[in-house]
């Protein structure tokens, strides 16, 4: 028998060659798990991207699109996106004294219409100057302008001018001139000041013009280029058109987003914060204090929300030059915190009774550890969902207040006030309504869907269910 020599190495355990079959997965924290879950929810993910996109639009937008949202381009009022921007360079506007005839022929017969209307000079967006022959027997004239031909039923259009002197045979139209086609009609009036039946019409094509100075100051021509009269240039570009004062819609939407999203996000953050403090205080202290605090919260909940929003808005008032965002925020916070407070209190009460808290306590956990490790993470999901759902509500409240004229003060734009202004011009200039309304809708939708996704992802019950 061979000597069996055993050395220490021989007593080393045999290396495990193959791991036994096992089911493991990387340990995931609550938030990692939630994120994974959210990632699988396509709608929520898209919403998240939209929300991020909106924030980028709001914050970074004004650096990229540097047009001043308050700058008024009075030559391009309510112009839709993609409008023709061609303009001709002309001399500055000079006042016109018009034409006065020496006398008006007297007629024995019924008063007719003037033979012909002429343009005293080419019709431009600076002015359209009309002249005509005196009408025998007339006491004055009425000047009408239309966007359509007045024939056959004689709807002459806008009553732009009234002339009480028959010798005055010219009219200068300055009213809201656009590069379009106008039908001008002139009617004579009789001795009672009534219009006679006959009229004369002239079709005029108005061309857009700018002066040399305007072309240079607006940067329509290259640097160091002195434009010549008659040159063709393009007036300033407004990708989404302009509003009723010729302000750039894109720039206003960006600044409006600052107001709407600011209120929409800051207000929920604050009232949720207050709600957390209040609710957790009530939940922890318990007893009489809890009863009292919750009764008070119930009272605040019972206040009719919109009525008090309006009341607070007028009670706080807006000083000169203020936008009124702050009073709106304060009113929203004062009226909205109790819902969160109730929610948080409920959560705290529930969690306090959980077995793992008791276990933790038995193992000697301190209160602050309990709060940090158990209470906060377990309520945070619910709170995050609350905030997400509160954003659309607040944006709607802002829009509603703007609609009844209690919103932010001009010239501060907000989506709500832009919508309200857009509604007035809905038929003529739909772009003034569509863009802000679309942004509100997208935002509200994105936050709603994101809220849904977050709720699914953060709900602990859902986690254990699959």
């Amino acid at each position: 028998m061979k000597d069996l020599v055993l050395i220490a190495k021989d007593f080393a355990p045999i290396a495990v060659e193959r791991e036994a079959q096992s089911i493991t997965r990387p340990s995931l924290s609550y938030w990692q798990d939630a994120w994974l879950r959210l990632k699988t929810n396509r709608r929520a993910l898209i919403s998240l991207f939209i929300v991020v996109g909106l924030l980028v639009f709001t914050i970074a937008g004004p650096w990229v699109w540097t047009i001043d949202p308050a700058a008024q381009d009075l030559d391009q009022l309510s112009s839709p996106p993609g409008a023709n921007r061609r303009a001709i360079i002309v001399t500055p506007y000079l006042p016109w004294s018009g034409i006065t005839a020496d006398s008006v022929p007297i007629s024995g017969q019924t008063i007719g219409a003037t033979a012909e209307i002429r343009l005293a000079q080419p019709a431009t967006t600076q002015a359209v100057r009309l002249e005509w022959d005196p009408v025998p027997g007339a006491t004055g004239y009425r000047v009408y302008r239309n966007l359509y031909s007045p024939a056959p039923d004689g709807a002459l259009g806008l009553p732009i001018g009234e002339i009480y002197d028959a010798r005055r045979i010219s009219y200068e139209d300055l009213l809201d001139l656009r590069p379009t086609r106008f039908w001008y009609s002139i009617v004579a009036t009789d001795e009672l000041g009534q219009e006679v039946a006959e009229y004369t019409t002239l079709v005029v094509n108005v061309i857009r013009v700018v002066t040399v100075d305007e072309a240079i100051s607006d940067g329509l021509v290259g640097p160091n280029v002195v434009p010549k009269l008659g040159d063709e240039v393009f007036v300033k570009l407004h990708p989404l058109g302009t509003d009723y004062l010729g302000r750039d819609m894109l720039a206003r939407l960006m600044y409006g987003a600052r107001v709407s999203l600011f209120i929409g996000i800051i207000a929920p953050l604050f009232f949720v914060l207050i709600g957390i403090l209040y609710g957790s205080a009530a939940g922890f202290i318990g007893g009489r204090v809890d009863q009292f605090l919750m009764r008070f919260a119930d009272f605040v909940v019972a206040l009719p929300f919109l009525l008090f929003m309006i009341l607070f808005k007028i009670a706080f008032g807006i000083g000169p030059g203020e936008s009124g965002i702050l009073p709106m925020l304060v009113a929203l916070i004062v009226l909205s915190w109790p819902a969160t407070a109730r929610l948080v209190r409920g959560q705290i009460l529930q969690i306090r009774e959980e077995a793992y808290i008791a276990a933790s306590q038995l193992l000697g956990a301190k209160t602050y550890y309990l709060i940090l490790r158990h209470m906060i993470p377990n309520t945070l999901g619910v709170i995050l969902v609350t905030i997400t759902f509160a954003v659309p509500t607040v944006i709607f409240v802002e829009a509603f207040l703007s609609f009844i004229g209690m919103g932010v003060a001009p010239p501060t734009p907000s989506w709500g006030s832009m919508c309200n202004e857009g509604i007035q011009t809905m038929l003529n200039h739909p772009h003034e309504l569509i863009f802000p309304a679309l942004l509100i809708s997208i935002t509200v939708l994105a936050f709603n869907l994101l809220g849904d996704g977050l709720r699914d992802a953060l709900d602990a019950r859902m986690r254990s269910r699959e």
Binding site: Y148, A155, L156, L158, L174, G317, I318, P320, P410, P411
Partner: protein
Amino acid sequence: MNNLKSGTSDALTRTASTQLIWLGLAATIGFAMLMGLLYWVSSLTGSHTTTLNAIDAESGTVTLLLRTEPPQLDSTRATDSVSISVLGHVMEGLLRFDENNQLAPGVAERWEIREDGATFWLRPDARWSDGVPVTAHDFVFAWRTAISPATASEYAFILYPVKNGESINSGNLPVEALGVRAVNNQTLEVEFEQPLAYFEELVAFSTYHPIREDFYHSREGRYGADVDDLLYNGPFEMTLWVHGAHVRLEKNPDYWGRERIRLNVIDMPYFTTDATSALNLFKDGKVAVVDYLGAEQLNEVLQQRWQLKRFGDGSVWFLAFNFSPDRITSNWHLRKALQLVTDPSELVNRVIKLPGNLPGESLFPVWLQGVNTFFRQEHPVPKIELNLEAAREHLEIAMEELGLDNPPSIALLVDDSPGAAKQAEYFQNLYGSQLGLDIRIDRQIFKQRLAKMQNQDFDLAVYGWGPDFADPLTFGELFASWNPNNNGRFNNTEYDESVRLAQSSLNPQTRMEAFARQQEILIEEVALIPNYERGRVYITDRRLQGVVRRAVGPDPDYTNAFISSD
């Protein structure tokens, strides 16, 4: 298993959706029945009438809309244009405005105005809607009620020209001291505080309407609150007043001038301030008139080929300054700088964009009558040329005088109407870009703006003034140092003297010259920056003729309207 499951659930889905359709049908029927039930319940409490189309020639009915509910139809307290318009249809004063906007005999058949007073002879056939004749006593009672401090009427001042009016209104004399008495049932005798050139204009105003004493007292403080709380003596009487919803006027069979009145019923079942709704109702053929339109709506109107009309509502709009010494706007150079860059024509043509508005040049609007022709033709406004260079120089001087290093910020007070905000934004941009001034818009709701105005809590204010009577004095008085409506506290001795002269003189020449002087002073001192004289554009159904619009008095006025056959 899977197949089975989907098969069963498909079957279930089909049955379930069939059931849902039935449920939906049942619910729709139920909803309709609920609507009917609610309608029936509400008809138990309020009266309902079906509304006709805009024009019903057969019954002589026109359907219209009211902008707002008349707060009350107590003529002593009515101040708003809607109440005054309705009162103009159901009541009649001593004089009235006819279809050509001229003064015509009303309850008074004839009258005589003297230097110290006036006498009115009432027509015997003027009657209240309960058949009792209208007497001189009814006027005495109404005027005393209006002037009494206990009534606290906002428009009491319009009775101040009657002797002792102001003292009574301030509580220093009893109401019986008012210089008006009924000589007999048919004769009314008025004493003036001082000679007065425009008393005829005044007695057509609604505060001068009659009220019958016994009826007034029988309503126990509810006079004018409801359809039964009023007696009518005008061409129409109110037969229905559902608050906030429906007013119906019908031809008054007891009215002395009934032959003149051609409409039988004026039905107003829509109350809305919303311009879009108003136009939609017109488009739908439900109302015959939209009494004013916004600039945004004009293209739609053109497209529909409706005939637009226009009229000036008589009011003048301007930027008012605060002259309190602690305000920078008390500095003349600053005001001058603003004046030199303000182009009312641009405001009217590019911002307001409504035909009928005239660029403002003066406090006195173009429609005021002078001695022979229009006041403004007799006394043209001194022309102000825009001059940016000069404006900047004035601003420099102003800053030096005020001890400022940078262009100051100025608070611009406006009300919360959309139009006012638009103009404020325009001015903010204008003065900001031209002069570097920081204009801070102070937008307030109606009553808060008034309070700020009256407490001199503003630098600049967008302000409008509508005439109370058709005499330049209604405008000229506004800047007299004693006038409570002189909110900016403009104070100029020469101006005050000139107003006193215009108040007391009966000579048209002297008066018009005084107003011309006032016009000059206002422009020299830059007491205001005129913006525009407001115009309105309105549309009427082609069949409705004879609608009268006016600057002073009830507007719109349908008393002379008729339905044309074609």
